[in-house]
């Protein structure tokens, strides 16, 4: 498994339904809703805890390995 630090916060906008769960339960206020879609507003604060991924009902936000980007 990739090291947590190597992971990157990824948003798959087309799947996001704008429920706001990730926004609310992000411990660091990294996220916000904009036009019913999630947006990363402050990536610096992100501690890569994965709670957004854990609770996103639509798999639209997650910590992806770097390899994901290559795809």
């Amino acid at each position: 498994m990739a090291n947590q630090n190597e992971k990157k916060l990824i948003v798959k906008k087309s799947w996001c339904k704008g429920c706001g769960i990730c926004v609310e339960f992000c411990p660091k206020n990294v996220l916000a809703l904009n036009h019913e879609k999630v947006e990363i507003i402050d990536i610096e604060k992100c501690i890569k805890c994965g709670l957004c991924e854990l609770r996103c009902p639509d798999f639209a936000i997650y910590l992806g390995g770097m390899e994901d980007e290559e795809k």
Binding site: G18, I21, L54, R55, P57, D58, F59, Y62, D68
Partner: protein, 273 residues
């Protein structure tokens, strides 16, 4: 492009799923996939069975041997699958209505037999698929389209019912406590016998709206605040537990497993030959 869990365990081409924005079912479904990943199960040897309901649509998205049956009958179909091919890891995903209304009988009998099936009930306290009628899990007094004056039924405690019927592993988690659900599902799968895990879900569209419980976020906050883990609860007074509900492991006992017992009968004849 998506992450490894989704890539490996879901039918990505069928996503996004049909569930409403904020529907808790998506969170619970992911937790189950996570449990399967953690246990490193062979996908070809996992069979996921469901009935009918929003919740019961889950298997369609999951990349296993998946079986979407008739309303309430998931466990009866699953019993056939498991009996015929005990080497399959059989998991049932069902709703509160599917499992405990029309499917209540199959639930208690699967529990009684202690057949090695792990059932996860996506309990959103309502019939979501048909538009918000009260279910056997709707709290007394709440509204549903068929309970316009407040529900006078008393809800089941589904894990307690399953335990009384004979389930050997029983637990409860919530959409908020998604990691706990993963852990409980792992344990349930590892239990040799019938396991039932209730996953409290959220139906913002019908249950939430009808009962003025606010958004999905409000309901998940309520879950966070009201749930008490059994381990913690053991140290609390009845007063402190007033108005709370328990999550975590609720029963864990060893008993003979059904398909193994049947195999013993077959083996008797093999020896005789």
């Amino acid at each position: 492009m998506t992450n490894a869990l989704v890539e490996n365990y879901f039918r990505v081409d069928k996503l996004p799923h049909i569930w409403c924005p904020g529907c808790g079912h998506g969170i619970l479904m992911r937790s189950i996939a996570k449990a399967i990943e953690n246990l490193g199960l062979d996908k070809d040897k996992v069979c996921i069975v469901s009935g009918i309901g929003c919740s019961s649509r889950a298997p369609g998205y999951m990349d296993f041997n998946t079986l979407h049956t008739t309303h309430g009958r998931a466990l009866a179909f699953a019993t056939g699958v498991k009996m015929a091919r005990p080497e399959l890891e059989v998991i049932v995903i069902t709703g509160d209505g599917d499992a405990s209304a029309i499917g209540g009988n199959h639930l208690i009998h699967a529990a009684r037999r202690n057949i090695n099936i792990t059932t996860i009930v996506f309990n959103n306290n309502i019939y979501g698929m048909t538009g918000g009628q009260y279910s056997p899990a709707t709290p007394t007094g709440d509204l549903g389209t068929t309970a316009p004056y407040g529900n006078i039924d008393r809800p089941f405690d589904i894990p307690k019912l399953a335990a009384a019927a004979g389930a050997t592993y029983v637990g409860r988690a919530t959409a908020y406590h998604a990691n706990l659900l993963t852990k409980l599902v792992e344990n349930g799968i590892q239990n040799k016998g019938f396991s039932l895990i209730e996953g409290l879900s959220v139906c913002p569209t019908y249950y939430g709206r009808k009962n003025k419980k606010g958004t999905v976020v409000d309901i998940m906050k309520w879950q966070k605040e009201t749930a008490v883990d059994t381990k913690v609860a053991a140290k609390l007074s009845p007063e402190q537990l007033e108005g709370k509900f328990l999550i975590g492991e609720l029963k864990n006992e060893a008993e003979p497993e059904y398909t193994e017992e049947y195999q013993k009968i077959i083996d008797r004849f093999v020896k005789e030959r």
